[in-house]
Symmetry: C2
Subunit: 263 residues, 2 copies
DNA sequence: CGCGACCTTGAGTAGGCTCAATGCCGGTGG
DNA sequence: CCACCGGCATTGAGCCTACTCAAGGTCGCG
């Protein structure tokens, strides 16, 4: 029942990097994307002071560790990560994935300690904020505080969907649903190369741990989707061969399409 | 695979009741409980104006409906409810339970529309707030806005745990875990009659839909727990016969014990 | 070339599912 | 007072989805 071996990589992120400040918020690359709501000038100025640096993290490094308390908050600038929990015997449940624009570490800042871990899936760049800055934000910027709450509510929504999948969908439906989600998210961020084609830096073990399935069964299910000519999955690249067909087995209803805030 | 029949009860809550304002916040019965953090005088005054009335809802009535957009926010004063999602074919996943002190409807206030439904399990009394009031709260009361965010973060945490259970625990572990959670929550609210004895107004179907199991299997699992002399479950009353034993199967690690805010 | 990380496939098992009765109890109407 | 009904719990039987164990296979890399 426990998952097989689990070669933990040591944290390789270099905290010294936090000192260098490379991308000024004024020129934040995410602001160009149309899924993000623009800041007011005043908000932008504050956020620029709220941001104390940048962190680059290598694929496989730990951003947060369950049980630790963290002094930092991050916004993902580029790269992918995933948030997960472990059972004492090693069983792992992936809770969600973190994409550019996602705000991470709120739980740790608001409560005393982290109840989950986060690990980088690819090399990443993160904006670093101090925990105390969050309090300044709440005191002076109602709009931004509202945005923080908005983001928290949205991640709750995503968890709701995930729980519905894991609790009530069949393996096939779960896989299809997750793949649609990945494709949708990646396209919103304009990370997709060609249409219906996305680089996803995860292994089937990640998918299994996300969906509450075993590795073997995940593999078979993915292959069945391939044989049905709905997808193809090679070398970390997902191609939606028949997007409508896939959406159909997934019971997919699309992503919310309004703009979202970010910090 | 779809759940059997699902006799929907019509909403029976009487919106007229909202006009009557019975319990002034100054004398809110929840403030006596030690798990809740006290308000400052100023906050209390604001909250009293934020609250626009009370709603009493009968057991079985719908507080929110998936897809609708809601003008209200509530804090549970007394009674139990549950939040859930449905698949088109009727499969149901219960996401979490709402207890006194819980703040509900935030998702609907912050986003455009509700992505889940909420149904009362017992007769309830709720404090009613207007959606726009939330904005006033954010503009003028940083402490309270922070509390709202705290509550959102906490419910995310609870979902994380739930997802871990449903995705990675066995049926036995899941049941034990959920029952420990109920007992812990109820005791914090001093709803427990005798120690280790709690009235829980749900059926086994609710448990099944919470844990992603079938009704039959839930029943057998509960009976196995009974035969192991860990619990007894009669007429909606749970008794923890062997609390340590149960905590053991559940892998239970206790509830966070600090005080929590409420609105 | 060998090794590690990942994917694939076969075989056998079991946990959990469905279908189908049955039992129990409280409420209702005759 | 009794018969009946609806909602819930319980139990048996049989099946199947998903799990475990165990081999390979492939590919990239030092």
């Amino acid at each position: 029942m426990p998952r097989p071996s689990n070669k933990k990589k040591a944290p390789t992120a270099d905290p010294q990097d936090a000192a260098k400040r490379q991308v000024p918020c004024q020129r934040c690359p995410l602001r160009k994307l149309k899924i993000f709501r623009p800041f007011t000038a005043e908000e932008l100025t504050f956020v620029a002071t709220f941001k104390t640096g940048e962190l680059t993290a290598e694929a496989g490094s730990m951003l947060f560790l369950e049980g630790a308390s963290s002094a930092h908050l991050y916004t993902v600038l580029s790269g992918w990560a995933f948030r997960y929990k472990l059972l004492p015997d090693g069983r792992r449940q992936i809770l969600n994935y973190c994409f550019p624009g996602d705000f991470i570490g709120l739980q740790g800042s608001v409560m005393e300690e982290m109840q989950h871990s986060i690990e980088a899936l690819s090399d990443m760049v993160l904006c670093v904020f101090q925990r105390e800055g969050l309090w300044r934000l709440f005191e002076s910027y109602a709009g931004l505080s509202f945005d923080v709450t908005w983001l928290a509510a949205r991640s709750e929504q995503i968890l709701d969907q995930q729980l519905l999948s894991v609790g009530r969908r069949s393996a096939m439906e779960r896989c299809a649903h997750l793949l649609m989600l990945f494709a949708g998210r990646a396209e919103g961020l304009e990370l997709a190369g060609a249409p219906n084609k996305v680089r996803i830096p995860i292994t089937q073990q990640h998918i299994a741990d996300t969906l509450g399935l075993s590795l073997v069964h995940t593999n078979r299910t993915l292959n069945r989707l391939t044989r049905k000519k709905l997808i193809s999955w090679k070398a970390g690249t997902l191609r939606l061969v028949d997007r409508d067909g896939l959406a159909d087995v997934a019971g997919w209803e699309g992503l919310p399409d309004g703009q979202r805030p970010y910090i």
